[in-house]
Each structure stands twice: as C-alpha cells, then as structure tokens.
C-alpha cells in the first residue's frame, strides 16, 4: 500500500482496488433485451449483404439479427455458431469497425452502423448463459486427428472435426486452453473469465480431449503425430517475439508486450501487478494498444506508444487508437528506438520513403521505467521438413501444408489477417478439408 501513480520505477497498486476494478470492467456492456430489439431493428436485411462479405467467417448477419428481432436470440446464436463456433469471443474482440460494421450500409448512410458486434454478443451470451450447446456429434468415424494448439484456430478446427464424428486430441503447450483468447487479449474485452467459459462450452460437443503441457518440438513431434493420427492440424500461433535491435534491450524493465498482457490476464489480483510510472510501448498494432491502455488502467502516470511509421500505417484500428487516446495514452509516430537507458528511452525520428523507414538523425528521450516491445511475433520452432513462406507455415487451399496429412491455420500459417475471427475461419475450413480427405 501507499503506492500512487507518482511512485517511481515499477510498482504495483498505483490505483485503489475499486478504481482498477472499474477500469477493467466490460468495454462494451451487454445489451438489455429492449436495447437489442431496437438495435436489431436498424438492420435493413440487405441483399447479398456487405457485412457478410466483410466477415472472415461469413456469418449470415442479416439473418441472425432478424432472429433477434423476432425474439429468438438462441436461434440467432445458432446461425452465428454455424459459421463461427467462437462467435462469443469474436463478438467481443473483432475489430468490427474495420470488418462487418465498416461494410454496413448504415455506416455509409449515417456514419452509424448497425452494432453487429454487440448484437452478436447478445445472441451468443443468451446461449452461453443457458449453458446449452446447439450442435450434436455425428456417429463416430473412428478417425483420429491431432490438433496442435488450443487457440482460436485449433479450437474451431477441433469442434468442427468432433461434430463430424472424428476423435480429436488437442495438444497445448500452456496449462490452459484458449490461446490468445486466454492469454493475449485486453482484459476489458473478455471479462468474467469468458475465454475459459467459452472453451468449456465448446467442449460440450464431445469427442475432444486436450493434452496440456505438450509443446511441439520438445514434448511432441510432427513426425510422431503424423504416424499416430489420421491427420494433423497445426495451430501453434506465433510464440516468438521480434527484437528491437536497440542498445540496452536486455535491461530490466524491457519486456515483451505479449508477456505483460498474458501475466495481466492470468493475474488473480490486478492491484498486485506492477507497472511502470512511465511506460513506453514500441509498436503500432493491437498488441501495442492493448499493452498501453492496460498500463494506463493499472495506474501508470504516462504511457506513450511509439510507432516507427505514420499514423495511416498503424495496424491498430482507428477505434483502438481512439480508445487509447481516450484512456490517456499518447500516440507518437515516426519514431524508432535507438537505445534504452536508465529510466529513459532514446528514440530517433524517421521518415518513410517508398515504404522504407530511415532515421533522420534527430532523437528524443522519453522517461521510461518500463518498455514494452510490441513489434510483432514470429513463428518459433517450425517443425523440420515443412515449407515456410514469409516466416510462416506455407499453406494452400484450406490450410494444406507441404506435408501430406498436415494442415495449418491461424497466426502460424501464411495468408490471412492475424485476427481471432480469421483463425476461426481457417480452423473451420481446414476441418472441412480434413473431413473430405478422410472420407475419400
């Protein structure tokens, strides 16, 4: 006790417990039934709706919204889950402002889209709250499929395969399932242990077992999996983190943003989680924003996101940028790290010419008790003998790798955005392709 936002260095309990609890409350509270009905009524039920086209999982959005409108949120949820078994989490974490809601014709008309994400949450929460599972497993096929990684892609693939009657074993390196849903998303987007509850709900389909503490390359091998299963789906994510390439990178207080977020997500008491008085986050994507905003919410006095390119190139959506600004995070552009000093970070201004970033020579120093690296993740420990493309597992079609009988999807596979919803789509599609090949 006794710490405040002004406490020097890295310290826990900068804010009172009630403030922290309020700060990490639901970002978008759930709709009440009447709110949902009013929001649903705004949908025009477009022909060949642009929102569906914009959704990586192609959820029939106008149909599920109409089902909400007619008083059947559980039927709406079924429509969602048909395409996206993690529709509950996607309703919370999808950057809808750049996907379905950006495509919504009411965005075109009024700058105010139908709130598809919140409606999707309303529908899926109804089913989650009831605890019912709307799918039944087909008769067992006797085929065994290994899924490596219990993140969104792996879970999506496993569920679809199990539904089709195959027996699935999911091998997970961490002690808990969910992947980035559990370890990697800002806490205020998935409150109340939602990620874990969603996995429990998903597993109700049956036919899926999860084997924890099994890391590919050390505890299990691809060869071993291939020989013991009828098919393998790799969804190992990107465990590696890119280095800054700046002096002093190994100083205490410099750490990976993904680790900080994971620690925060797993913390039982956020008042015990230390954060710097002055925090600088290096990067420009969602991870950078999540780390920065949560640092502020924990009570950091100043938080700055430093991105090496201009604002227009930032990976984080404008909604995320606005959220960060609203929470008091400073966004700085065209700055790259040069060196980390004691309590400071030195950054160099940049210019971008023909896509290439070069330093101008001008530097600036910012106070920094803590520096988070959020400049992208990379595939760590790809199995030998599998073709890569751009540092990821090369796939063609519905996630087929260069190795026969091995599919891949999610962040570890080439192509597609690094989004939860994209991972779910890839897992689902790979499952359908695996199913077809097992049947054939």
């Amino acid at each position: 006790m006794g710490n405040s936002q002004m406490t020097p260095g890295i310290a826990a309990g900068r804010l009172p417990a009630d403030r922290i609890a309020a700060n990490f409350d639901d970002l978008h509270p759930a709709y009440a039934p009447h709110e949902a009905a009013v929001a649903a009524d705004r949908c025009y039920f477009c022909y060949d709706a642009p929102c569906v086209t914009a959704c990586p999982t192609s959820i029939d959005i106008p149909m599920f919204i109409r089902q909400i409108q007619t008083g059947h949120p559980e039927a709406a949820a079924k429509t969602i889950f048909d395409q996206n078994i993690l529709g509950g989490m996607c309703a919370r974490v999808c950057p809808t402002e750049t996907l379905c809601e950006e495509a919504c014709v009411r965005e075109t008309a009024e700058g105010k889209p139908v709130e598809i994400g919140r409606l999707q949450r309303y529908a899926t929460d109804t089913v989650m709250a009831a605890g019912t599972h709307p799918f039944r497993r087909a008769a067992p096929t006797g085929k065994r499929v290994a899924v490596v990684g219990a993140g969104p892609a792996g879970l999506s693939c496993a569920h679809r395969l199990a539904m089709l009657g195959h027996d699935v074993t999911v091998y997970e390196a961490r002690p808990r399932p969910g992947g980035l849903n559990e370890y990697g998303i800002a806490a205020y987007k998935a409150t109340g242990g939602f990620a874990a509850a969603e996995v429990d709900w998903l597993l109700q389909i049956g036919g899926i077992s999860i084997d924890y503490g099994k890391r590919l390359g050390s505890d299990i091998t691809l060869d071993g999996l291939v020989s013991s299963h009828d098919a393998v789906f790799l969804s190992v994510g990107l465990a590696g983190v890119n280095a800054l390439g700046a002096d002093g990178e190994d100083r205490e207080g410099v750490r990976d943003a993904v680790d900080f977020i994971a620690e925060l997500r797993q913390a039982s008491d956020l008042t015990a989680l230390p954060v710097g008085r002055n925090v600088v986050v290096i990067g420009g994507g969602m991870t950078a924003i999540d780390a920065a905003v949560q640092s502020r919410l924990l009570g950091a006095e100043s938080v700055t996101v430093a991105y090496r390119r201009g604002q227009e190139s930032m990976g984080a959506s404008s909604f995320e940028q606005d959220l960060a600004a609203q929470k008091g995070v400073r966004l700085m552009f065209n700055l790259r790290p040069v060196a980390v000093h004691e309590g400071e970070i030195e950054l160099e201004y940049t210019r971008v010419a023909e896509g290439r970033v070069t330093g101008t020579g001008e530097t600036i120093r910012l106070p920094a008790d803590q520096v988070f690296k959020a400049i992208g993740q990379k595939l760590d420990g790809a199995p030998e003998g599998i073709a890569l493309e751009g540092g990821k597992i090369a796939v063609t079609g519905a996630g087929r790798t260069s190795v026969k009988g091995v599919w891949a999807g999610g962040d570890c596979a080439s192509g597609g955005d690094d989004l939860t919803v994209t991972a779910v789509a890839e897992g689902r599609d790979a499952a359908m392709d695996i199913h077809a090949s097992l049947a054939g």
Binding site: A37, V38, D41, Y44, T108
Partner: protein, 434 residues
Amino acid sequence: MADLTTTFLGITTPNPFWLASAPPTDKEYNVRRAFEAGWGGVVWKTLGEAGPPVVNVNGPRYGVIHGADRRVLGINNIELITDRPLETNLEEIARVKKDYPDRAIIASIMVPCEEASWKAILPRVAETGCDGIELNFGCPHGMSERGMGAAVGQVPEYIEMVTRWCKEYYGKPVIVKLTPNITDIRYPARAAHKGGADAVSLINTVSSITSVNLDTFSPEPSIDGKGSHGGYCGPAVKPIAMNMVAEIARDPATRGLPISGIGGVTTWRDAAEFMSLGCGNVQVCTAAMTYGFRIVQEMISGLSQWMDEKGYTATSDFIGRAVPNVTDWQYLNLNYVAKAKIDQDACIKCGRCYAACEDTSHQAIWMKPGRVFEVNDAECVACNLCVDVCPVENCISMVPMTPGETDPRTGRVVSRDYANWTTHPNNPAARAAE
C-alpha cells in the same frame, strides 16, 4: 402564424383539432386539461341511457401493435361507453362548457334503437348547452351485441331512422359517427344524409384481434384466458379511414355533406391530409392516449407553419383540395409512363430494391459489380415497390417519360394525350360501345 380558427357546422373553434369520443373525454377533469393544453373541441365520451350505467371488464381493455422501439402503431379496445351515471356527465358537460365558451363540446350518445329512448335523452343533453351531438353508430364491440353502436351503423335504414328522430327532438347539429366495419361506407353515409344529419364523422374503430398469446392461446387483451374482438385505432388505420372519407366526399349522393375526420391522426400532416380529402376538422384519440394532451401543440404549430409556407390563410383554403383528384381506377391515365431512377450518389447499396424487384416484381433492376444497382427501363413497369422499400428517402424516384419518347419496355411512343381504360382496346366494354 396562420390562423387555424375553423368553423364546422357553425361551431367555431380556435383550431380544427378535436378530441374524439373516447376515454380521454370521459370526464370533466380530463376535458379541462385538454382545453388547457389547447384542443379546439371535444366529443364527450358516449353517454348512455339514464339509470344504472354500463359496466366494464375489470381486466385489460386495450391491446396494442408495436412498431420498432415499442412505437404504438395501433391500439384496440374493448371498453364500453361511459360507465358513469348520465347525470354526472351532464352536469360536468354544462360546467365545462360554461367555462370554455370558445371550445366545442359535442355529446356523443348511444341509446337503444327506440324512439322513446332518444326522445328521453335529447332534451337533457340540450340543457347542458353543448354545441351538438354525435350519434355513436360505430363501436364494434360489446354494445353492438345489445343492438347498439355498430349494430345500428351496419344497417343504413336504422341510421336514417335514428338520425331523423334526433333532428326532430334536438335543435343543434347532429353528427353521425360511422363504423368502418361495413363493405361500402357510402351506404351508411347516404342514409345519414337522408335522415337529415348535419355531418358524418368517421371512422370509428375497426373490429380486430391485436395478437394471440402463444402460451395460453388467448387473444389479447385477455380476460381470464378469453378475448373478444375490440376496436382498432391509431396510425395503422389511417389509410383505411382516409379512403372512406374520400369515398363519401366524392359520392354525388353525399357531396358537400360535412365530414369530421377520424382515424390515426397523429401529427399536423395527418390532419392536413384528412382535411384535404374533405374533412372540415379532425378528431384525435390514440395520439393523445399515447403521448398525452400536449401533442396538440405540435399539431397547431405544424399546421400553421405548413399553411404559411403554402400561403393559406384559413383552413377552408385547403379543405377538400384533394377530393377532385380522387377518382376511379378506370379513369387513370394509361398514357402516363414512368420509370424508376436510382440516384447513385444517394444509394447506400443495401440492395433491397434489387431483392424486391428480382424476387417479387419485374426483374427490372440490375445488380452490377461493386453493388451498383441500376434500373432496366426495358423491364420497369414503374410499380414503385423499389421506392417503397428503399431506406433512403428520395434515392429512387419515379420519373415520368416525356411524350414523344419511346418506352423501351413496350416499344411504344409515349403519347401526350390522356387515355384511360374506358377507351382501351383491350376493354371489352369499350369495344362493345363502338
């Protein structure tokens, strides 16, 4: 601000907005509040015979149809006429009329279809000093089972007979309120006219069941698991009411018979539309029951503003202006050819016009790459469905073709001459006449 003073049957009120005979006008307390809020007149809740008053159900008496966000689109009711003693109502009418000499008070009456009953009540009503009476031949529920209300309104001979009695035993204006629950509204209107009515008012409520409870299978409103049809009113019935008003306004047998328009009047615009179709004033109920008496202030300011914009200085300037434009289908100009035109700048690319046209109409809209929707003039029959379903106002318009142009659908040159079905070559009657 245009002056809204309106004289109807010699009764002058500061505006044409009257409250219809209904719960809002059931007693002195409400009517005083209504007048303070600005209503030009009221038709007092229907009086019955002297003696023990009617009784109402003790459960729900209203059902509802909601639009988005629980907007009230229509209400139905199974309430009967006033359930307070006749004496009480008469005393209150006299008192309020004395205090508001510039507002209209019309007494609505419903007594059995016997001359003695009417002869008994009319002098007592006259004593109150009210400005006229309205004969309730309209309520479709409850009282109709006892041979009153709509049971009378559905028999033109009874209408004429009772109207005649009223004209004989009462000296001030007699308005006959008509039920819409009849095949052709002109017959009861003609009967009222023949009986000497000074005016008709319409419509009363439409027989209806608003909904069925799918757990109990009881119609709503439900009284102990059972329901009875009620009378439907509110915005949902306005189109039905306006057609009936227009039919009477243009019927040669009743032309010039004053009409008080009723049926879903909610805004100044609704009132202006009813009045343009020949109504000397309008009566309102559901809007007041939904929003309270204060809404009349919007009606007053809205109608004044519109009149100012149009240069009308009195309501008589526009009353009946639309009547000459209501005609029979057979007289519509078949040489008038229009085509839908989509304003690409206004289009938000929802594709509703396409779905409607492709699935349910004439396959006259193309969906081109980039969600560009264009009208195929060679198929467009100008049905207007695309305009109706388009969520953007004025995005799709019906553009008349210029005479001399060739209609790509028919290959015929658009004529500037008026030609209707009566002379069309496909009309057997037209051929027979040759």
